[in-house]
């Protein structure tokens, strides 16, 4: 039983870590401004900024060790608190899933099918993600565990083959565009890393008694992503007035344009599988979040609602690169304020209870 629990925790953490890491990487590589060789600083800063969110999750878990995620949040913030938090997380996740769907259709058209209809690509992918999410977090998490092994092999292969082309000089000047620009870039990255909160919703309480699982996941994901951004920066130089469109950026990302065609296959496999993992994570977590906000909605309905809304957003203007970048700036403040407020509220309630000023209860349910 214990082994099964550990496996469940590991697989959910793997899914969360891979999804948020890959999404943060794409946010910097595709939608961020020109960071020269300093993408790793943005990602590291994003990860550090998200630590308070993971810490808030840890506090809530420790204060409510016998409750599942929804119960713990309810205990921390009451019925309204949990509904507001669930709705906010749901909206952020479907917004981001819409943006990911848009990226996937751009990538599919860039790589192989320029004449294909964007919306059909998005619809089929959204339905697939919704169907996978309807199977529950364990299905997506199991796939992520398998995917992690393949991804590691592909990344090592790519690094080994391209090592002779690395140009460490492109990592300098170290601060790239300067601290203010890096900090502005760190905000969307922090928003993505804060989605560890969404992963936490999928984790069962007995598998994470000390509440540190998501903190560890966040740190690992941030470190690996920053390391990969460093590798990427040694393959493509910073350009002062380079085009910023997603198609051009994809060209830089896929085989970085300097490698032989043969390397494009592992890059494409990495990109698609990573994006699918990311999308399935977001839709699955969104289904959990909406289930928390609207308990009457069962998990399948939640998954279909999340997938459907993500598709609708992906065909709207909100998923376009500029709008998505603007929106992503708000993820972090919303998630941080929601979870920090919940944690503070939980601590105050606990202290009040200890002082005998509050009724003995663990939630409003």
């Amino acid at each position: 039983m214990k082994e099964g629990g550990t496996a469940q925790r590991r697989s959910v953490c793997t899914l969360t870590g891979m999804a948020i890491g890959f999404r943060a990487f794409l946010a910097v590589a595709l939608d961020g401004g020109e960071l020269y060789g300093s993408g790793w600083i943005v990602l590291t800063a994003g990860m550090v900024l998200s630590i308070p969110v993971a810490a808030a999750l840890m506090i809530i878990r420790r204060l409510f060790p016998h409750e599942e995620a929804a119960g713990a949040l309810s205990g921390a913030g009451g019925r309204i608190g949990v509904r507001l938090t669930g709705t906010a997380l749901f909206l952020i996740l479907v917004c981001d899933a819409g943006s990911v769907l848009q990226m996937m259709s751009t990538a599919a058209r860039y790589v192989a099918a320029p004449e294909s209809n964007r919306n059909i690509i998005k619809l089929v992918t959204a339905l697939t993600a919704a169907a996978a999410a309807a199977l529950g977090p364990c299905a997506a998490a199991g796939a992520a565990v398998l995917w992690r092994r393949l991804a590691a092999v592909l990344i090592v292969l790519l690094i080994l083959v391209q090592a002779p082309y690395f140009r460490p000089g492109w990592l300098t000047p170290v601060l790239g565009p300067g601290i203010p620009v890096l900090m502005r870039g760190a905000l969307p990255a922090a928003g993505i890393f804060s989605l560890t909160a969404a992963g936490w919703l999928m984790l069962e309480r007995e598998h994470d008694p000390d509440g540190k699982a998501m903190l560890r996941t966040l740190m690992k994901s941030g470190a690996v992503t920053a390391a990969l951004a460093t590798v990427l920066a040694m393959l493509v130089p910073g350009m002062a007035d380079a085009p910023t469109g997603r198609a051009f950026r994809l060209g830089r990302l896929l085989a970085n344009d300097r490698a032989g065609l043969t390397l494009e296959l592992p890059y494409v496999i990495l990109l698609y599988s990573g994006m699918l993992t990311m999308l399935v994570f977001e839709v699955t977590a969104a289904a959990r979040a909406i289930g928390m906000a609207l308990p009457a909605l069962n998990s399948r309905m939640g998954a279909m609602a999340a997938g459907g809304l993500a598709f609708c957003l992906s065909v709207s203007d909100l998923a376009r690169q500029e709008k998505a970048a603007l929106l992503s700036v708000w993820y972090y403040p919303v998630i941080l304020s929601a979870f920090v407020l919940l944690a503070c509220n939980a601590v105050i309630r606990k202290k009040m209870r200890k002082a005998g000023n509050a009724p003995e209860r663990s939630g409003d349910r």
């Binding site: 992918t125 339905l127 697939t128 000089g169 130089p237 002062a240 060209g251 065609l261």
Partner: protein
Amino acid sequence: MKRINGLFALMLAAVCFVMSGCTVKNVEAQAYAVSLGIDMTEEGGIGAAVQVPSLSSGGSSESGGGGDSAYSFSEAKGDTLTGALEMLNAGLPRELNLTGVKCIVVSEELARSEKFSEVLEEMSQAYRVYGAAEVIVCRGQAAEFIRGQKPVIGMRLSESTAVEMQHYRDLGCIPSARAADVYYMSRSVYGDPVAVYAAAGSSAENTGNEEELIAGELPEQGDRENQYYGTALMDGGRMTGILSGEETQLLNVLLGEIEYFSWVVEGVPVRINVSSGPEVRTDLRGSVPVIEVGLRFNMMTSKEGLEEEELKKEIERRLNEMTRQCQAAGADPFRYAEWAARSFLTVEDWVRYGWKERFPEADIRYDVRVKRIEL
């Protein structure tokens, strides 16, 4: 649950179907260009030419042993590169596909013009031009140059071109000049790009000085129509000078691209091996950047008559001469900018320093050491 599983499997199959692109990108319906030539027209527009394996030759795409019928040649003109490629596409019986282009040949006239920067920009934006294709600047017309490309050894032009380029790169007489690198470096905040220098045929104007030989001057005769020898120097996105084949070898040594090369010094053939370096140190405190470069060589020769000190002086002389040429051309192909940029915290500070303006005046000192070793 079974229904969900079934739906999931169905959706997964649909994703594979939609995203594979097999329904819309039939290989047989594509014209995969092997070479792309770009010229400036007399009217100031752009001419584009391609070599495409001919499917009509014996039913095999690239068979035919290099005969004229194995490849189809097409060219078209337009106001811009995009326009010329569209015209070219309209004239071909299949859709032009540039994902497999092995080399992009640009005429020297175009490369030296202001328009080249725009062409590079369009190339980077054009749908999937192969980024690892070699960029070649040729004396004369690029269209004529690619028409003269043929597999002298072997059957396939695509393979032959790639192998030929690798061979010259190994010798060190041409630089590595991937299309993506040329574009990136023309826009980057670091040094400048370089391209392979080539010419169709050999002219009679042979200087007789091996040090100064460039493509088109090599005293050779054979089936090969095109010569690749030397480097086209660029200042940003415009060609500003040429390095000879032997100077290119030194450039490749400074870039760490080759380990061995051979020279004839004072009548003595000598094989030179780079044992360590380059070790680059930059000092940007003064108004003129000071760059110190340390290089260690081993010399191997079976003949007497050439001392270590003589070879050291000869290498230093040639390095200084080559560097002066690059500085005069306003080109930093050595990547010294990447070393210098380490002294700055932000790109803004680095750009404000004005490396491009200061580099032509830079004081570059080579510290060469040579050690004789047994063959």
